[in-house]
């Protein structure tokens, strides 16, 4: 499944998602893969934090743990072990974290490796307040992780959507239209939307339709960024839906 491509030969499948880039560049010092990995970690670190907290670690311990974990990850030593089938980013991260927690963290105690250098500055104070505010405390740690992963994906998608609207100089439109993302097809009051946008109803319908389609497309794109080549997008989509459904 994973292609260890060298720069001299054309890869069989061109790695076009961030994660597949990272996976493909194992052992090499490719800057693109480093950038890709950093981008991924920056986006998805909160579910890991939530998992660690859910496992029972205190907030300071959890913060240290998460920081340390990402330090190690970004040093890329783990990614070099080609014998492990990495699969999706989500499963890889949680497996690596569990491994880290059970084996390495105990030995580390309070000592920080890497000279205290944290290449990924994680805003753990906000993370803790967010975790504390989260009321869904009936889930197991794994389910918490999956749920927050799914929520992160939604956040990313919506942020990108919002950015697109802002780039087109129409930020207000996004606020108006975003609630249309939730409603069922028959439940949208197009007349009200049209009024608020200042266009006629036909244009409102088109705008809503475009928004929904764009949402779907961006979501799938974001999701595929975390998948390696050959992974099933639909299956992952179902799992995300299932993860959100568990309360």
């Amino acid at each position: 499944m994973n292609n260890l491509s060298s720069s001299s030969e054309a890869p069989r499948i061109f790695p076009h998602t961030r994660w597949s880039l990272v996976v493909a560049a194992t052992g090499k010092d490719a800057p693109e893969s480093a950038a890709a990995l950093e981008a991924l970690c920056r986006a998805y670190w909160y579910p890991l934090y939530a998992y660690v907290r859910r496992c029972g670690q205190s907030p300071p311990d959890a913060q240290d743990l998460t920081q340390e974990f990402f330090c190690r990850l970004l040093d890329k030593h783990w990614l070099d072990s080609a014998d492990r089938d990495k699969g999706k980013l989500r499963t890889f991260l949680i497996a690596a974290l569990k491994h880290f927690m059970s084996n390495e963290w105990r030995r580390a105690s309070a000592q920080r490796r890497g000279g205290g250098r944290a290449p990924l500055r994680l805003d753990t104070s906000i993370a803790e307040s967010r975790y504390a505010a989260d009321q869904s405390s009936t889930l197991a740690a794994d389910e918490t992780f999956d749920r927050h992963w799914a929520l992160t994906l939604l956040d990313l998608t919506l942020n990108r959507l919002e950015a697109e609207f802002a780039a087109a100089a129409k930020p207000v439109d996004f606020e108006t239209l975003k609630s249309c993302l939730m409603a069922g097809r028959g439940a949208i009051d197009y007349a009200a939307v049209a009024r608020r946008l200042g266009v006629n109803e036909g244009a409102a319908r088109v705008a809503v339709h475009r928004l929904r389609k764009r949402f779907r497309d961006i979501y799938r794109e974001e999701l595929s960024q975390t998948l390696a080549d050959g992974d099933d997008l639909e299956a992952e989509l179902q799992q995300m839906a299932a993860a959100l459904a568990r309360k």
Binding site: I126, S129, R130, A133, D134, Q135, S136, T138, A150, L151, L154, D155, T157, L158, E162, K178, S179, L181, M182, A183, G184, R185, A187, R212, F215, R216, Y219, R220, A235, L237, Q238, Q239, M240, A241, A242, L244, A245, R246, K247
Partner: protein, 528 residues
Amino acid sequence: MINESPTKCPQCGTILSEDAPKGLCPSCLMALNLKTETVFTDNRPAEQPALPPEQIAPHFPQLEILECLGRGGMGVVYKARQKSLNRLVALKLLAPERVRDAKFAERFTREAQALAALNHPNIVTIYDFGQAGGFYYLLMEFVDGLNLRELLRARKFTPEEALAIVPPLCDALQFAHDRGIVHRDIKPENLLLDKAGRVKVADFGIAKMLGTANGEGKPSETAAPENATQTVVGTPNYSAPEQKTDPGRVDSRADIYSLGVVFYEMLTGELPGKRLEAPSKTVQIDVRLDAVVLRALETNPELRFQQVSEVKTMVETIAATGRSGGPPSASGDPIRPANQSLRGMFFVERLGRRHVNLPFLLLYCSQIGLVVSGTMLAIALVLWLLNVPLPHGKTSFASPSEVWRMLLGMAACFVVGRVAAMALNQESEVTGLAGFVQRAKGMTPRRLVAWLLTVVGTAAFTTGLAFLVITMRQRFLTEFGDITSLISIPRVAVWIGLLVALSWFVWRRFLHRQSKPFAQSKNPNALR
């Protein structure tokens, strides 16, 4: 990280947490991704033809696969014979193209466990469940007969036949609801009728466990929110409105709606259209059935019957009075059907609210009054005839004025009783001895005895109370302050004790009858 005050999603009703993306409901957003807005399932893979029995047989050595009975959305059903027990069984296999669909496999497991928890004569029994040869399978009771759809296609039902099917259906559904299981897909295809005329409910495939989350027994505040993202289930024509608009809010009342649709279809031969027409406009049926059907088909679940057993009671009431030839009342008041318990008759139900049936109360009280006064007069007469010396000296019974007063009271009771009977739309012959005899004929001996006991008990209680009041009055009037009054206190105490015991016994009979109506009228089996 968005800070929002806790609100509810307007679409699915689940509570939004603080970290809801942009203040939107995650479940609804995901639903957008899954494109699950109205259809049962989105990507229906190309249906492969059902495997012939010979290909199935090797995977089930303990069965002899006889024939393929049919296929539905979930899977294929085969008729088979269990070799060891030599009985016919139904083997349901998960459709091969669905095997890789994680959602379906989970549903299949849930169906098996839901059905296994339901052991009822009107629910298809499940024998076994498992995996064999790459298939998920379900081994069920084989019902030798047809489903309701086939029967409806063959011919239309007479109202009596329809009325005969509904009560056992209600039994089955109530049984399941009591155990927290909602069927959610009641439709004629899922209602089987065997050759003996017994109804069996099948295909609890989308049964939803109320009150548990993911079947793990953890309580959840809203009903199974897992379905908030799932596809809308249920057959569109039969599913309740809230199943389409508000899947998170679906509960046992959705089954009542579906039952209403089935009932409507049985009576009229058609599905209820956009404008709901009373069935009695289309076919010649008892108008009281309109109320039942229309109430079951209420769009708002709060206005429907809240329990399936209520439907059963109403239907049985209508069926019974229809048969016994009592005067049908267009107003819908339950007159006095043989099956209704006494306590229930004190209340009349209109639009779901119970209020006291005043005419009946008056009738009852007047009749009691008559009996009590008559008894007291009779006792006084006996005592006077036998010239029994009364221990307390002259009591009030001996005086003629008292007697006249009693007779006057009895006449008043009689008149009140007549008026009340008229208010209940009953013929005048129905009251009085002739009416009593007629009603007595309609009851089973057990009911008759119970009815008599209740009346006599109440009369005795009232008589005893009257005696007590009079005796106490005498006491206070004649021996107030006398030292000998102390001796009578234990006697009075015993009196009170006896009366309390008697009244408790009488009330227990009331309550007993309310909770266990033992008049199970055996409906003639009209379906052969």
